[in-house]
């Protein structure tokens, strides 16, 4: 599971284990019949071309263009004009941007802290093969089926100060305007995202738990370890790779959170939940300052990549040889 979902795996390209006769790499233009007779028919680079061109056009060209646009000024009409470093100096003078970076990190960190223990518990629990657990796990999965938009709209309706749950439980929620305060808005964003994404991460832990060799539990049981000690001394250490995978997903997902902020808080109250991705949208598509928006986007890519690399480094994931060393 870990190597499967991690983009950090070694790019083992194109070498199949099949022992093909050593022929010089045939050109695509060469006669087909002859090649087939000498060895297995191998596809040329032409097969990859359509996808490469398509991906280049709609993903790589924009990625280069975002860097170019960050040095221009463009209002959406006419052509972008070169503006030098104007966007960048403007950005770093804006306290809202600096705050948005911290806020992105805070929301991501809180997300990791809330979701990781929850999804480990649920994942390990649902790894059991009892019938009841399977049925409940299927229900637990439902939030993940809804789009982020749907989840945000649903929770906004649930938390509506006039028609939602807070209106029915004034003793608990006071005036009921949960999204009206900074703390409340941040808490709602963290909890709603935990509600939706815990199933995904518990699925990762479920798979990892099922891959733990039973020998370890048998050995622990012989040593007299009870259920709790087995959990802490066998299950948790064995889930190490899964934790790294799951945390990287949370970090990348957290830093690029956008839909739920737009729908639940609109970056408010004030700019209290204006995280970086929302800040970019606001600059570019609400204030029509596309140059600044592009600069923020570039910043976002750099920060997200850097943090993922740091997580990989700190955890020693890149040096890890697997959690099952010493198990025969």
């Amino acid at each position: 599971m870990t190597s499967a979902t991690s983009p950090a795996g070694p790019p083992a390209a194109g070498h199949s284990p099949a022992a093909a006769p050593q022929v010089p790499p045939p050109r695509a233009a060469r006669a087909r019949g002859g090649r087939a007779a000498r060895g297995t028919a191998r596809p040329g680079i032409v097969w990859a071309l359509p996808a490469v061109v398509f991906f280049g056009l709609f993903a790589l060209v924009p990625l280069v263009l975002v860097a170019v646009l960050s040095f221009t000024s463009w209002s959406g009409l006419g052509s972008p004009a070169f503006a030098g470093l104007a966007n960048w100096t403007k950005l770093f003078d804006d306290p809202v941007l600096i705050q948005s970076l911290w806020l992105s990190v805070l929301l991501t960190g809180l997300g990791v802290v809330v979701q990781t223990p929850l999804s480990i518990l649920i994942g390990v629990w649902s790894a059991g093969h009892q019938r009841g657990r399977a049925v409940l796990a299927a229900i637990f999965f439902v939030p993940l089926l809804l789009s982020v938009t749907a989840v945000s709209v649903l929770w906004r309706a649930l938390l509506d100060p006039n028609f939602g749950v807070p209106a029915q439980a004034r003793w608990l929620f006071g005036d009921g305007n949960l999204l009206g305060s900074r703390t409340g808005a941040i808490a709602v964003l963290v909890l709603v995202s935990a509600w939706q994404y815990t199933p995904l991460h518990s699925l990762i832990y479920q798979g990892a738990t099922r891959a733990i060799p039973q020998v370890l539990y048998q050995a622990a049981a012989v040593d007299g370890a009870g259920r709790v000690r087995q959990f802490f001394h066998v299950t948790l250490p064995q889930l190490r790779n899964a934790v790294v995978t799951s945390v990287i997903l949370m970090v990348v997902g957290g830093l690029t959170t956008f839909d739920s902020v737009l729908i639940l808080t609109q970056g408010g109250p004030g700019t209290d939940t204006t995280i970086t991705a929302f800040y970019m949208y606001d600059r570019a598509f609400k204030r029509f300052d596309y140059g600044t928006g592009a600069a923020v986007a570039l910043l976002l890519v750099v920060v997200a990549t850097a943090i993922s690399l740091i997580v990989v480094r700190l955890s020693g994931y890149d040096r890890m040889r697997g959690t099952q060393e010493g198990v025969s």
């Binding site: 028919a41 990859a48 798979g207 099922r210």
Partner: protein, 303 residues
């Protein structure tokens, strides 16, 4: 990206043989056969409430009238039963949004199915530097979030005259499905045994025949996963439609929900009925093809 065989959240989807072995070996995580874990049971019940209550409110509200919902609050039992909310949603344009979403989803899936299998075939079976460079490019693509390119995408799509056109949504959505789909499908194709290729070669099959008669049929598992993955991406996509379309005639479901909320946010039952409507196809797939859906969703996680 290949998902382990037993990640399905429900046992029902697994083949009977696998289930039997699973039962014979003691369960992972906690020693089965020992006393039942009551504490875990209580925890599971609490989490069931956390997950279930919002879902209950959502489903309950769809059949309730607005006065009933307002008076009774979200959590009370439905006092009325009417399908008026759905009627209202369709009058509000949700039929159109639904159709647009179907068009976008079908086109994205078709594009992915045309582009990815030959690409994965070339990566897995091709020789030399170019193919490994291509694979590395797509691996790097995994790290690029859609937000990063949304500004230049708006620029490009506008310049191409595709702004406010469904094609302008379809193309970037499909492009951003490619890295994950390539990773999934190359994983599946690597599992095809080399001796099968040799057998085809002895038969004198050319590359095209190897692809169509050997690789494609043996990659069905991976193909169904990438279909589900890209369909979910397209169905739930929000950012590209938000930025690249504006008129009523090009609106997709997610955007329709967002607009509905900002404009008629007080009519919560109709809003929640629209949420149910937008999720219905995914729920149906979950009921009938749970395994494929879960694997597609894990593809989402692999992003």
């Amino acid at each position: 990206m290949s998902v382990p065989a037993r990640t399905s959240p429900a046992g029902g989807a697994r083949p009977a043989a696998a289930r039997r072995t699973a039962r014979r070996s003691t369960s992972a995580g906690s020693a089965v056969g020992a006393r039942p874990n009551y504490l875990a049971g209580v925890g599971a019940f609490l989490w069931l409430c956390v997950v279930g209550l919002p879902v209950y409110v959502m489903l309950g509200a769809t059949v309730r009238t607005r006065p009933d919902y307002t008076a009774g609050g979200p959590l009370s039992l439905p006092g009325t039963f009417s399908l008026h909310n759905f009627v209202r949603d369709f009058q509000g344009g949700f039929g159109r949004y639904f159709l647009n979403t179907v068009v976008v989803t079908a086109s994205v899936v078709a594009l992915v199915l045309v582009l990815v299998p030959p690409l994965a075939f070339a990566i897995v079976r091709g020789r030399g530097r170019p193919t490994s460079a291509v694979f590395r490019m797509f691996l790097l693509g995994l790290a690029v979030p859609a937000q990063a390119v949304i500004v230049p995408m708006f620029y490009l799509i506008s310049k191409a005259g595709l702004y406010d056109n469904l094609i302008g949504v379809i193309l970037p959505t499909a492009a951003f499905c490619l890295p994950v789909c390539t990773l999934i499908l190359t994983g599946t194709m690597r599992d095809i045994g080399g001796e099968l290729f040799e057998a085809m070669a002895i038969d004198g099959a050319d590359t095209k025949r190897v692809f169509l008669q050997l690789v494609v049929p043996l990659s069905r598992g991976g193909l169904s996963t990438i279909v589900v993955f890209s369909a979910l991406q397209a169905w739930n996509g929000f950012l590209f439609p938000l930025v690249l379309t504006q008129s009523e005639s090009t609106k997709v479901l997610t955007l329709g929900l967002y607009n509905f909320q900002t404009q008629y946010g007080v009519d919560i039952p109709a809003l929640l009925a629209a949420v149910v409507l937008s999720t219905l196809p995914v729920l149906l797939v979950y009921l009938f093809a749970r395994r494929a859906l879960v694997q597609g969703l894990m593809g989402v996680g692999g992003k």
